[in-house]
């Protein structure tokens, strides 16, 4: 990867804002090639007769014969044992503002060391990162980045958290889990950006070692999940409930795609469900879609559509509703639900002002939920 490609991939603005990091990150980008995959035994699978296995990690429950890979493309049955091929094999490393994930109520104004391996357990037709998520690990350059090195790197670059992101962290579960445990030993926190397509048992284990999870709720209809995600809605809703119950921090993103999932009744039902199952304080981000991957026949989401969704969510009683991917929009900021004043003023990923003291609104003392320090 040359310097130009590097900046294109990582977003030069982000990196340049982290002065002094650029050249060091370039060192990290001495990627090691494509052929060198890991062979670490996977967790959450069951051995079947005749060297077959059943994967129990996600709701697909892939049944695989010898030498076959799961839907994710990164877990393989080798002689009746199941292996992850991407343990410690990152295809992307960046230092991002935590707001980019987006987490708006989690350590604002800090950076997260953000990593991903190749692969994904769904196939969203509008995927923004399909060139790394919808490929097999041997099809992209990757680097050996064992858990201890991830944590050391986060510390070296003053990142208080690690973000497992870009592709679908569920598919590199073992690597994420071990890295998270290692990180906690060094007081580094862990955040997960996921579609939530994971079975309850591994998720119950994961929430014990991470600090925040952002779930992409891609629609509120099974039909949409079948047609555009190649997944199911119900397991995602179960995952949201498990995360909320666990007590770790949770935020929700809903990418609003014109004509596909922007029906106001659907959005209202989704908000009602969140209110009933999770409560009014979970932050919900309505993000703007841009044509990508297999959905290039639609325009970017009109801002008015996002504002309508925002209004519906507020009408239903959600307290922290945001509009994403529209830099400069006032709904990027956090408003105190009691006094209605701006308590965190954002422009894009940049935070202009924080009016919180001890996690409370500085103007009216109303507690604002989140992990603030």
């Amino acid at each position: 990867m040359n310097r130009r490609q590097f900046f294109k991939t990582t977003g030069g603005v982000t990196l340049l804002s982290c002065s002094g990091m650029t050249s060091l990150l370039m060192d990290l980008y001495a990627f090691g090639g494509k052929a060198n995959l890991s062979q670490v035994e996977a967790r959450y699978y069951k051995k079947l007769p005749e060297r077959e296995i059943e994967c129990l990690l996600c709701p697909r429950f892939c049944k695989l014969g010898d030498k076959e890979r799961g839907y994710c493309g990164v877990r393989e049955n080798i002689g009746g044992k199941y292996y992850t091929l991407v343990y410690g094999k990152v295809c992307t490393i960046n230092i991002d503002p935590i707001e980019k994930k987006p987490f708006f109520h989690f350590l604002p104004r800090t950076n997260a060391l953000s990593i991903a391996t190749a692969g994904c357990n769904v196939n969203c037709k509008f995927c923004q990162n399909w060139e790394i998520s919808q490929v097999r690990p041997e099809q992209v350059e990757h680097k050996d980045f064992p858990p201890s090195m991830v944590v050391e790197t986060a510390q070296r670059y003053a990142c208080p958290s690690i973000a497992y992101t870009y592709t679908e962290p569920v598919i590199f579960f073992e690597y994420m889990y071990d890295t998270s445990k290692e990180a906690h030993k060094k007081q580094v926190r862990n955040t997960v950006v996921t579609g939530g397509h994971i079975n309850p048992e591994p998720l119950q284990d994961l929430v014990k070692v991470v600090d925040a999870i952002k779930i992409d709720l891609k629609a509120f209809s099974e039909q949409f999940y079948a047609d555009y995600v190649r997944g199911e809605l119900q397991p995602v809703l179960e995952a949201i409930k498990i995360v909320a119950k666990s007590g770790i921090w949770l935020e929700i993103v809903y990418l609003v795609i014109p004509s596909l999932n922007d029906d106001v009744r659907e959005i209202r039902r989704m908000c009602q469900w969140l209110l009933e199952e999770i409560g009014p304080e979970v932050p919900v981000h309505f993000s703007r879609f841009h044509p990508m991957y297999l959905v290039k026949n639609l325009p970017p989401t009109p801002v008015s559509t996002l504002e309508r969704a925002h209004r519906v969510a507020q009408e239903e009683g959600l307290h922290y509703v945001y509009i994403g991917n529209v830099p400069g929009h006032k709904a990027e900021s956090t408003f105190c639900p009691k006094c209605k004043r701006v308590v965190i003023k954002r422009v894009g990923y940049h935070i202009q002002n924080v009016e919180l003291e001890g996690g409370k609104c500085r103007f009216c003392n109303h507690p604002i939920p989140g992990i603030w320090s």
Partner: protein, 297 residues
């Protein structure tokens, strides 16, 4: 599309119990297969009806199951040499699959300085075409070998039972021509196998299906299980990709019935994608409309 004729040539003893190939018999099987399929007594004439002089011919094999259940190098090279000897230059024939690791693991030598080329898509400088092809439910990048290197394609697939697809044969073999086949195994691979075949990169180049039925895995595929692998000693030829696989499926069903195994329908894994392919006009799926000719050498 030419008539839906399927030719099965059996050669008793072509493969020894130790999987050694009787080259003479193999050649006879190829020659007989091509003569009956093309209707041309002269092989050269037959090949000329299939390929242009300048064609670069790809022989797409399936090496995923390893040495025990992959077309033997002697078998595919036997075909390549036959084509080379009848007009196609050595340098214009490529035997290929996804990865060099799988090719080597199946006994293929990648040293092709002598003529016929053997290499995987992951060869440095080859890779997958950067253009994403979006067609019906397919969104994939194609191997540059399929998209650019070759102008004519032979799907040379080993006939196997498949736990998800029901049957894997000539059409599904092209899953190895794209970067993300793992995304197309839902719903018994239906309609994905048919829709992938319907893309220009495949439909416009595919000339011939040859199914390697020397050893047929009729149960618990696509992995190798000797208990359910039959030395069938056959090669199946057809211009019609759907008809070829339909008849291949029948072979599997007969072998299963012989062993008292339930049919694929009873196991809810009929290769429905073949009927989808027929509806899309890619070939004939009705057995009564397929002319099946069985030969013995």
């Amino acid at each position: 599309m030419k008539a839906s004729k399927v030719v099965i040539v059996r050669g008793r003893g072509v493969l020894s119990p130790r999987r050694e190939v009787d080259q003479k018999k193999l050649l006879q099987m190829y020659e007989q297969g091509f003569r009956v399929l093309t209707g041309q007594p002269d092989l050269g004439e037959g090949f000329r009806s299939l390929f242009q002089d300048r064609d670069r011919i790809g022989i797409k094999i399936n090496t995923i199951a390893g040495r025990e259940l992959t077309s033997l190098p002697e078998v595919t090279l036997g075909l390549a040499n036959l084509l080379a000897g009848r007009g196609s230059l050595n340098k214009n024939i490529i035997i290929w699959d996804r990865t060099n690791r799988e090719l080597k693991g199946s006994g293929y030598s990648l040293d092709s300085r002598q003529g016929i080329k053997i290499f995987g898509t992951d060869t440095e400088g080859v890779g997958y075409n950067p253009t994403l092809v979006s067609h019906l439910n397919i969104g994939s990048r194609f191997s540059s070998i399929q998209a650019q290197h070759i102008t004519a394609s032979i799907s040379f697939a080993i006939l196997k039972d498949h736990g998800l697809a029901g049957v894997t044969a000539g059409m599904k073999n092209y899953f190895g021509a794209i970067h993300n086949p793992n995304k197309y195994h839902d719903f018994n691979c239906n309609p994905f196998v048919a829709e992938l075949f319907d893309t220009n990169h495949i439909k416009d180049k595919h000339k011939l299906s040859i199914l390697d039925c020397l050893v047929v895995q009729y149960h618990r595929g696509p992995s190798f299980h000797s208990r359910w692998a039959e030395y069938y000693n056959g090669l199946l030829f057809s211009f019609d990709p759907v008809a070829a696989d339909i008849i291949g499926w029948q072979i599997i069903e007969k072998l299963r019935a012989k062993q008292g195994l339930p049919s694929l329908k009873e196991e809810n894994r009929e290769p429905e994608y073949l009927f989808t392919a027929a509806k899309m006009g890619l070939g004939i799926a009705e057995v009564e409309k397929i002319q099946t000719i069985e030969e013995e050498v």
